[in-house]
Structures are given as C-alpha cells and as structure tokens.
C-alpha cells in the first residue's frame, strides 16, 4: 500500500514534470496579426519588440527549473543586428537544455534553428570556476521577421528569493511568468512588485501560478539616475512567514533576534578594555573618545576585504579567521565585519552603549520599512549612543571620515538592534560642506593667451572616499597618468608637469593633488582684445544635463560643495574692458551658486572666487526642465568671459 501510494505520488510528479517538458518541446500558436505587424506597438521607434516573453519556473523540486521562451518581432536592420545572435551564459551547477529556435519570415515561411547550429563554448575556466555559454545565430533574420527561441535552465540550487524582471533592452508586449512554488516550504510564497502595477500570481494549470504584464517599455539607463532596482519593473518572489504585525513590531522583533546574534561578536575582554583606555588617552568628550577609537580601528587594523590592504592573494589564503573582537585586536587584521565589531567592543569598553545596526544600501534600492522582510537590509553599521542620540559608525570603510558613513548608507532608516527595545533611526546625512572640492590656482596669463602656474585640488568627505578608492591600489605612475589625462580631457593643449598626489591612502587626510600647468591659447585673442574665462576649473566642461528630455528621475548621491579660488597675473598692455560678473543664483534650501570677480587697482591681478553648494539629491523627472535650467545657468555663468583690450583705459570697479 505504501509502495502503491509512493508510485502514485511519483506518477503525479512525473505528469507535472511532463507538462513542463512538453511546454519546452513545442511552440505556442502564432498570431497571424503578429506576422503581419509592420510597426511596433509599445514604443514607436523601437527596432525590435518582444511579442511574448514567457518563463516557466518550477521551484517544486530540489533543483529550480526555468523554461524560457522569447518571441521577438524585428522591425529594422538595427533590430536584426542586435537580436539575431543569442548567448546564454551559465555557470557550474546550471544546465542548459533543449535549446530550440525558429525564424518566421514575413511571408510566413519558417526556418528552424538546426541543432548543430547551437554551440556550447567555454568562455573562461579558472580553478574551479567555469563560465560556459550556449551560443547561436538565428537563421534567415530580416526586418519583418519574427524570431523565437526557448531553452530549459536547470539550476542545482533553490533560493528563497527569486527576482523576476519585466523589462528588457527592447519593449515587451506581453511578459508572463509561470511559477510552481517550492513544495513543502516552511513558509508560504509571497511577492512584491517594484515600479509597476502590483501583479499578483493567479492559479494556472498543473500546479503553476501565473502573472503577467503587458506593454512594458524598454529599460534604458541614463547618467545620474537612481539605482536600477529603483527604476526598472521587477518582482521579488520570496518565502516568508505571514506577517500579521505592523511594520514597527516586525522590525522590533527582528532587531531583537539580530541583537542576540551580534552580542557574541561584541564581547569585551581585558585586552579590549586596556586598548580602549590607551587609545582614548586624555580625550574628554564623547566625540573625542569615539573619534580616537574609530581612527584606531581604521588605521591600526588591516581590512582584508580591502583591495589595498597590502596582503597578497597567497597571504590572504593563509590568514586565520577571527572569532571575537579580541582576535581581531590581537592579529591586527579582520574583515569589515570584524573591524566594526571591534569598534563596538571598544566603545562598550569605554562606557558607551553600542549596538549592531542593520540598514539598506541606497546605491541598490531605497529601503522601505513597510516591506517587512530583511532582503534589502544587507548593510550594517555600529550605532553608538551619544547623549540621547544614536550615531552610526563604520570604521571598516577605511576612508570614510569620522562622523560620516558611506554615501550609500547615509540618510536612510537603520534598525538599531537591541535585545530589549530595538529602534528604527535615520542615519546621519552629511551636509554639503563635509564633501568638498576645494580648488586653488595661482596663474599667470601672458599676452599671447598662454596660461601657466600652479594648481591645487583638495577633496574631502565622499569625494575623498571615492578618489582614494579609485587611486589607492594604483601605482604612482598610474595615478599621474589618470590625473594628467583628466586635465587634458578638458584642456586639450594643456602641458602638465610636477604632478604630486598627497595622501592617496591616508584615511585621515584629504585627497590632494597639485601640478604645474601651461595651457597655450587658453585665452582667445582677436586683433585688439583678449577673452578670458576666469572659471579656470570649469573651462572645457560640458553641461551637466545636455539633453532636453529625460526618462528617469535625477539622483545625486550626496550633497556637495565646490570652492574655487583662481588668482591670475594679467599681461601688461591690456586693460579690462568689461567688469561685469555673472549673477549669484539661489536654489532655495538646496544651496546656491556664487561668483565674485575682482581685479586689483593696477589691473595686474585678477581674483576669481566661485562657490557651488548643492544639498539636493532626488528630483522626479517632472522637475527635470527646472533642474536642467538651473544647471544650464551655472554652466553659462562658468563660461562667462572677461574682455581685455589692448591699450584700453581701465573700466573697472574694485
């Protein structure tokens, strides 16, 4: 009887599998209207459009099986060029099977993709890592044709989280997912849709659930846009217990669980106490104490996750794992997590309340506490109570100054984990003057329009972090080449020499570079005049927003401040003909743009001061025109030219 029941169950499961396999073996009926279709439906200028994009996902077994089908209408030669060649990359542990394809020509003729036209190639192999690809070219493709292809993908692993995308690089008429959820899963399946109308799964046949979207535009990237997961339409499928709590209760409970786990890694022993005391030394205020502990962690402990840690691959392989803050302290190295926990332990040893804090990463997705699942809460910091405020610290990010966090973690909700009363607190957002570019130039303009002299550029805050991350693992020669190229990119005739870079790896000091410059033809000359753009640091830089239309919102990563001071010796025999200067510009609460131009009484030295402060970060695309207009005005003001006339009488105000 038992055997009989088992057989029946096996039979039933085979029937289920059989239907997916059958699906993988046959084409869906073709709509004659699609064959006759002459122009795209979803986006009028599209070169190709997916008529149907279907994916069957069988999460019901030990493996996860995907059956993909894509049916694409080709409208133009460019569509033909971009869609005809297919690569299906796959890694070890994934199998690609039953690849089939066909082309339906505009006259209805069908050309099948031959089995021997599908190549399996090893793209790269290194140690245990192997990337392969099934590659093929669709036969007989021409504008007006429909291409369709399908394949089965069997993944040896099953994940609690599935990401289903609804947008492609071309527009899609119908995208449809079929999903057979994990059988016997501990928790029920749930879904959440981002940037799209909530699209629930409905019951379909053979144990599958179905969801679909229609007329989905192509996904396109633009500069200064929010992260892709915040822009494109996608769905997260996950297995989780039913949350019958309000979000606040959910996060509180989760915070308690995290706190229990983190407690183990924040233990204080005598060594920790001793080092905390020694490090704090004569510091008196909480701020001073924390800063010393923070700087200790990022300067005395090597971060093995950092590419500039100085460890070779071989050395990294031999390093022992740390099991406690004491281990990290003793060995002088640790992972990012080890270093943050050491900081927490030191802070506790110094009498502070320190907690493990979980938070999102806004370079990936903006965290929304109403989504009661920890999936997007992947980052961590250490929260320390100063007075009655929680402050957040991340000494593992070596170059992030005291008081700041990585920009990705600033200004977002963080869960301060506590075994009794976890709280959701917004992390600090560093104001513009903490991320500053300060540029100074002491230059001389000769009467042939050549500009020469000394230039210095200093970065702090998030700018410095970004520059140090970019330059810390590069050689002195590479750094020089990069910076020299950057200057020449905007001033093509520039000759750069004596380039010096200061503190490229120093966590405590700003990132600075200086150089000697000579730019022939910097000022433009006519017979009796010379035209000079005093905004030396902006010369040759294009508009921030060059195009009149925008598809996505505009997103600046952090508030910033630019301060420029240019002092320029002027050539003899020339006098300033126009002494007007661009007007200041106010952005309300978001900042300002200020320029001040002055010339000494004897007209020999020009002083140009510029300040751009911008605190704005997120702008919906509906405000693009206004935002563009503001930055266009800044650009125009930066390009403001002064006119000097040969032998003219001075016509200036001091």
């Amino acid at each position: 009887m038992k055997l009989q029941r088992l057989s029946l169950s096996l039979l039933l499961s085979l029937i289920g599998l059989g239907s997916v396999a059958a699906y993988a073996q046959q084409w869906k009926p073709l709509d004659p209207a699609h064959v006759a279709l002459k122009a795209p439906i979803v986006e009028k200028d599209a070169d190709a459009e997916a008529l149907l994009w279907e994916v069957y996902i069988n999460d019901n077994t030990d493996t996860t099986e995907y059956t993909h089908l894509l049916r694409v209408k080709i409208f133009t030669e460019r569509g033909k060029d971009t869609q005809s060649k297919i690569d299906i990359p796959y890694l070890k542990g994934v199998g690609i099977k039953d690849v089939a394809g066909r082309t339906i020509k505009p006259d209805g003729t069908i050309i099948e993709l031959k089995k021997d036209a599908v190549f399996d190639r090893e793209v790269i192999k290194f140690g245990g890592f192997k990337l392969r690809s099934k590659s093929f070219a669709m036969p007989g493709v021409e504008p007006g044709a429909i291409i369709e292809y399908r394949w089965r993908e069997i993944s040896a692993t099953s994940d609690n989280y599935l990401r289903l995308y609804f947008q492609r690089e071309i527009p899609v008429q119908v995208v449809r997912y079929y999903l057979k959820p994990l059988a016997g899963a501990m928790y029920p399946m749930k879904t959440v849709t981002f940037q799209g109308a909530s699209s629930n799964f409905v019951k379909d046949k053979d144990g599958f659930f179905r969801t679909e979207m229609t007329n989905v535009p192509a996904y396109r990237e633009e500069s200064r846009m929010p992260p892709p997961d915040q822009v494109r339409t996608w769905m997260l499928v996950y297995y989780a217990p039913d949350v019958r709590k309000d979000p606040a209760t959910y996060w509180r409970d989760l915070g308690r669980q995290y706190a229990e786990v983190a407690k183990e890694f924040m233990k204080v022993n005598d060594d920790i106490r001793r080092v905390a005391t020694e490090t704090i030394g004569d510091a008196t205020t909480p701020e001073q104490k924390l800063e010393r502990l923070f700087n200790f962690c990022r300067t005395k402990i090597k971060n093995v996750n950092d590419d500039a840690s100085g460890f070779t691959e071989e050395q990294l392989r031999k390093l022992k794992d740390n099991n406690s803050p004491a281990d990290t302290l003793k060995r002088g190295y640790g992972t990012g997590t080890d270093i943050d926990f050491l900081f927490a332990a030191l802070a506790q040893a110094a009498g502070f309340e320190a907690r493990y804090a979980k938070l999102g990463d806004r370079s990936r997705k903006f965290f929304d506490p109403n989504f009661t699942n920890p999936y997007f809460m992947r980052a961590y910091n250490i929260a320390v109570k100063v007075g009655d405020q929680w402050r957040f610290f991340d000494p593992a990010s070596t170059y992030v100054p005291f008081g700041m966090l990585r920009w990705q973690e600033e200004g977002i909700q963080a869960l301060v984990c506590d075994s009794k009363e976890p709280v959701m607190v917004r992390t600090q957002l560093s104001p513009a003057d903490q991320s500053r570019i300060r540029r100074t130039a002491r230059l001389k303009l000769t009467d042939d329009g050549t500009l020469e002299g000394q230039v210095r550029v200093e970065y702090t805050g998030h700018f410095a972090v970004s520059m140090k991350e970019e330059y810390d693992d590069e050689t002195a020669e590479q750094r020089e080449t990069k910076l020299r190229d950057a200057v020449k990119e905007r001033l093509s005739s520039a000759e750069v020499s004596n380039l010096k870079i200061e503190h490229p790896q120093d966590p405590l000091k700003p990132f600075v570079y200086s150089y000697t410059l000579r730019v022939p033809g910097y000022a433009e000359r006519t017979g009796k005049r010379m035209f000079l753009q005093p905004a030396f640091f902006q010369k040759g830089i294009g508009q921030m927003f060059a195009t009149s239309t925008r598809q996505n919102d505009v997103y600046f990563h952090f508030p910033w401040l630019e301060e420029d001071l240019v002092m320029m010796d002027l050539p003899e025999g020339y006098a300033l003909e126009n002494a007007d200067q661009p007007s200041d510009l106010g952005f309300g609460e978001l900042g300002h743009y200020k320029v001040n131009i002055g010339v000494t009484q004897d007209q020999r030295i020009l002083q140009y001061k510029r300040e751009l402060r911008f605190e704005g970060m997120m702008f919906p695309k509906s405000s693009y025109t206004a935002l563009k207009s503001a930055f266009d005005t800044v650009h125009k003001s930066d390009n403001h030219a002064l006119t000097f006339k040969q032998g003219a009488v001075a016509n200036v105000k001091q």
């Binding site: 200028d45 070169d47 050689t475 000759e495 033809g521 017979g527 125009k636 403001h640």
Partner: protein, 653 residues
C-alpha cells in the same frame, strides 16, 4: 621489504622531480643576472630574454618552446608579469606552461596549472576555436622581481609560414627566434620594419637574433605598432618532390590558387538563389545597377562569425553559398562568397580578394602568404560602362570593381577608408596577384555644411544647420545614425550642438540617408538662449564657428618619436549670421590660410548687409608625416584650433 624500499625510492624520485620542476631553469637565472642600461622613468619593465624555438617534423608537426624573462622596474611594470599562449583547439595544444618569479629577496615562486586560466579569445563570435591560456603573476611581482616562463605547444597544421614579433612595447635585451627543420627542408625569411636580418644557420637550425631594442612609446596619430616593431616572416619548405601534408607559398600566384581552391567550390548556387538574383535585378537597367542590387543584398546578410578548422585553412574557406543564403548570416568570406555565387547565377564573373582590414600599410608584397590578411572582399569584372572610384585594372582579368560586402555602411562603388591604398590579393587563379587598392580623393569624402542663423541683441541664437556628406564622410554619419536607436541618436545630436551652443534646444533634426548614392544629409534647427555673451550692455561677443567639426587632430606634446599618420578628410562650411540691429562689428577673427604638403586650411570672416559671413575649409590628405616635420603638423592644427575659438565682437552703436 624490497617493495617498501622501491616505494621509498619512487617517493624520493617524485619529490626530487617536483623540486626540480619548481626550480627556475638556468636560462632564467642567467637572464636575471643581466646588467641593464639606464632607462627613463616611462620604462616600467624590461624584457631580458625572449626566445621562440620551433622544431619541425617531417609530417609538418611543429613543437614550439617559448622562453621569456622580464624584469619589473617599477610598480606599473607588474602587469608585464604574465604569460599568454594562444592556440586553436583544432590544431594546437598547449603541452606545458610553467612560470617562475624571482623575487628581489632571492626567493623563488613557481607557477603552474593551478594558476592558469583558459578563455575564449573571440568572445563575440558564435563559435571560434581560438583560445588563450593565461598565467598571471602580477599580484606577486614587486619591483625588482624577474618573471620568466616557458611554454611548450604542439601544432599540427597544413601551414608552414609564421611571423615573429621581436618585441611588443617594452625594451628588449635579447630576442631570438629559431627553426629546426628535418633534413632537406629549408627556411626563408623576410624582415619588416628594419634592415634585412640574416639567420645564423647551423645544420638544419636557423637562428635570427636582435639585441637591445628600445622602448616604444604610444603617441596620438602614430602608425600601428606592427609598422614600428621589427618583425620577421618565415616560410619553411620541404624538399622539392617530397610529399608532405603541408601547404607552401612561394609566390602570390600560389596564394591566389589556394584561395580559389578553397573558395570556388563554395560558390555553387541553387535554383532559389538564381531566382533571388533575378528578382533582385529585375528592375536594374545598367550593369552597375545589377551588381549594386546584388551587393546590397549581400551587405544586408547578417554578420555572424563561426570559425572552425582554422589549422586546416578553415579561416580562408567560406561556408557554402547555399547555406549562407538559407541562414542569411555569415562572416566576411561568407558574405563575399554568397555575392560571388549570386553574380555567377547572373553570369557575372567575380574573384575573391583577401585584404588586411584596419591598417592599409600592413601587407608587405615581399612575403607571399595568406597569413598577411584578415579580411575577405570581392572584385567584380565590369565593362567600360561601369564607372566607380573603386574600379581597378587587373593585368589578366581587366576592369574589376572592388567591393566589401561586410561593411554595410560603405555603399557599392566605394571602399572603406581603412582598406583604401592597402595591398590586397586579387585571386584570379594562376594570374592572381597583389594589387594596391584604389584611394579616393579627400574631396570625394567631403562634408559640406551651411549654417543660417540669427543673433538677437540679448545673445540668443536661432540656427539652421544643413550638412551634406559624401563618400567616407557619409559613411561616418551613417554609422552614427545606424548604431543607436532613434531617441539615442537625437540625444547624440543634442550633445554635439550643446558642445558649442550652451543650453541649446534642438527644435528639429532630420537625418536622411541616401546610402545608394553614397550621401547623407542632416538638417538641424536649434535655439541657444545664451550663445552670445552680452557685456555691460555694450558688447556682444560670440563665436562664428557655431557647431564643432566632427573630427579633430590633437597633437599637444612638444616632442615626438613616431611619424604622424593623417587620415584623408575634406570639409567646408559657410556660416551666415544675421546680426542684431543697433550693433556694429568691432572685431572678427582675421583671415587665415594654411598650406602644407599634407593639407590646406582657410578661414575668412566678412560683414555684408547686416550679416556676418564665416567660411572655413579643410582638406587633409592621407599621409604619414615624418618626425622631422612634426612641428609643422602640430602648428597647423594648433592654428586651426586658435582660429576656430576666436570670437566676433559687436559694439552697440
């Protein structure tokens, strides 16, 4: 007991073999001891020793041992600490790949299979047998280290020719290549980019050697490195009369016969193909139009590359035309061969042409070999009625029109600029020969632009830009137009306009591609609210060069090591700007005329009937300018840049 003893002996033997395997070879130790000359700061590493030994078997099999030693001089040179072996899976095997790093401390690290990655070289091809093995010691190679490797490969190919590059860009102390041949075989060599290098022959071993090769620095607009680096081309021949499974080439006629042998059987056409050829040419009135119709069809065949059987000549053999016709895809030789088959169906004779795409100076007549080419095009026999810039006269085949069906942007009757002037093999069987491809004049590839604009007293400019491009200039425009979807193309135009006209709002953009006639038209209208700068309400300053030219040569360094390579270009522009009432012209850029052997430039401004007229013309000839004339070339382009930046000053009356 004896068994135990044997086991111990065996284990010891294994250990000693393993230790030996980890020991750097004597040649590496010797190379590491080399005394170095003084190098400049820009030299990041120096190759101490580079040797390639090729040992031939009677059946054509070749075993190659490559040895290499490089000293890392500074941290930038660490990237030189790697070994690469490229191979084709059908005919080559990497038998052994070992490397060592001799640290300045004296410590030695050895590398083997564990540190080796293997990857496909042509990632965009649907399939390609060419792969590479890479062993990278970059992370370990501190300055002062010497990195060395030894790679053993075995090859079974029908070809007996090869080229050898004596260096890349790093300086080299000693570079050597040798071949060891079976009894009775012989080798011949040709030297490129330097005086003839004679081998030292010892028995059946030929050795070519160079010492103290200087560092090669990259410079803008320089010749390709393959035209600067000393190279050797070697042809190996089995004894006359002895049959060997190899293919040798002693003359261009040999290469021609081989090309035909591989191509002609693939030009068989089917009734469907014949019908298609007739359908395509049904409305054609002239010979030119008939061939053009077939050419356009071949151009539209999708470019897809599948490379199989490379060691057996697969790289030179097209797929059968019927197969390509049915799949509507193929690579360069497939497209050209399909075109030949369709022409054949119409009784129009044609020939394969093999060429090097990318550098017109790459192919050298003194070395007959198919290995000099990387591309396959076609030459069609035409009558006197057909006139086109790419018609050549072949001594045996007569008038031939050369065409590249792979480049779907270059219309029939033209050749892509990177193929013009190149030597190419026109495979006319026994009469096949290397011929120089035609070069079109700069004027045939010109860009003509007119700008009609109006400037208002507050500096706003409203402008209509009309561009008409011909020949290669039209190809460049067409490529930009076709490469991206329409919305992206319009954004590209906006970016181009806003380079010179800040905050410009593009009101209209109408591209019109007439590929058949080799023309491209673009009409753009825009408004720039702050084009002119008003100064104290008295002066109005603006630049008469309203939009930028599409290409520029930037030669900013004062010193030069390599010749300057200029590409052919012709450009003319007339700008007419209606000036605002109440202003008079106080200054405008002075007239400039620059005449050099490689090009001419003129710019002139005048004021007439309340309008400013600005005209500029540029004609550049395709040329390689020797280093001695660098100052003149640099000054030529600097002057142009200065003139085009110079503003017009209007004064309020």
């Amino acid at each position: 007991m004896l068994k135990k003893l044997l086991l111990i002996v065996f284990a010891l033997a294994c250990l000693s073999a393993s230790a030996w395997a980890d020991d750097p070879p004597a040649w590496l130790r010797q190379a590491a001891a080399s005394t170095l000359p003084q190098y400049g700061k820009d030299v990041v590493a120096v190759v101490l020793y580079q040797e390639s030994r090729r040992i031939y078997e009677d059946d054509g099999r070749v075993k190659t041992v490559d040895s290499y030693a490089v000293r890392i001089l500074n941290a930038d040179g660490r990237a030189a600490a790697h070994a690469v072996a490229s191979y084709s899976t059908d005919s080559e095997k990497v038998k052994d790949m070992r490397a060592w790093l001799l640290r300045p401390t004296g410590e030695v690290k050895s590398y083997g299979k564990k540190e080796t990655s293997d990857f496909a070289l042509a990632k965009n091809d649907v399939y390609n047998e060419v792969r590479a093995r890479l062993l990278n010691a970059e992370d370990d190679a501190v300055p002062g280290s010497v990195f060395g490797y030894e790679i053993t490969t075995e090859e079974k190919t029908i070809f007996t020719q090869f080229t050898h590059q004596f260096q890349r860009v790093l300086p080299v102390l000693l570079s050597r290549v040798s071949v060891t041949l079976p009894q009775g075989w012989r080798a011949e060599s040709v030297t490129f980019n330097r005086d003839k290098l004679e081998p030292v022959v010892n028995g059946t071993t030929y050795v070519w050697e160079l010492r103290n090769l200087p560092h090669l620095e990259a410079e803008p607009a320089q010749p390709e490195f393959t035209n600067l680096i000393p190279r050797l081309a070697v042809s190996v021949y089995p004894p006359a009369g002895k049959s060997a499974p190899v293919r040798t080439f002693a003359s261009w006629q040999d290469v021609s016969r081989y090309t035909i042998e591989l191509s002609d059987p693939q030009t068989v056409y089917t009734p469907e193909m014949e019908a298609k050829a007739r359908e395509l040419t049904a409305n054609a009135k002239t010979e030119f139009e008939r061939i053009q119709a077939i050419a356009r069809y071949a151009q539209a065949v999708n470019y897809i590359s599948i490379q199989i059987g490379l060691g057996r000549g697969g790289g030179y053999r097209p797929h059968a035309a019927a197969e390509v016709f049915s799949k509507n895809y193929g690579d360069c030789k497939d497209k050209a061969n399909l075109m030949r088959a369709l022409l054949k169906a119409l009784k129009i004779e044609s020939y394969p042409v093999i060429i090097y795409s990318g550098d017109p100076t790459y192919v050298r007549p003194e070395w007959p070999s198919p290995h000099q080419f990387n591309h396959y095009i076609i030459a069609i026999k035409v009558s006197e009625d057909t006139i086109a810039p790419t018609v050549i006269n072949h001594p045996a085949a007569g008038r031939l029109l050369v065409f590249d069906p792979t480049d779907d942007d270059t219309p029939f009757g033209y050749l892509p600029d990177h193929e013009q002037g190149s030597y190419a093999l026109v495979a006319v069987g026994d009469a096949g020969d290397l011929l120089k491809m035609p070069v079109t004049l700069p004027e045939a590839n010109r860009l003509e632009r007119t700008v009609e604009a109006e400037l208002s007293a507050d500096g706003q400019l409203t402008a209509k830009v009309s561009e008409r491009s011909f020949g290669q200039a039209a190809v460049d425009e067409r490529r930009m137009f076709k490469r991206v979807a329409k919305p992206q193309y319009l954004k590209t135009l906006e970016r181009w306009i806003t380079q010179t006209a800040p905050s410009a709002n593009v009101l209209k953009a109408e591209p019109l591609d007439d590929a058949l006639a080799g023309k491209f038209a673009l009409d753009v209208e825009f408004k720039s609210p702050s084009y002119g700068q008003v100064m104290q309400g008295r002066l109005l300053v603006f630049k008469p060069a309203v939009v930028s030219r599409r290409s520029s040569v930037f030669l900013t360094d004062t010193k030069r090591k390599h010749p300057v390579v200029l590409e052919s270009e012709a450009y003319s522009e007339t700008v007419k700007i209606k000036l605002p009432a109440g202003f008079e012209v106080d200054e405008f850029p002075e007239a400039t005329e620059l005449n050099q052997s490689f090009g001419n430039y003129a710019a002139v401004c005048e004021v007439k009937d309340g309008h400013l007229l600005f005209k500029r013309t540029l004609v550049l000839k395709s040329a390689t300018i020797p280093v001695e004339q660098y100052t003149a070339v640099r000054s030529f382009f600097e002057r142009i840049r200065a003139v085009e930046q110079a503003p017009v000053v209007l004064l309020k009356k």
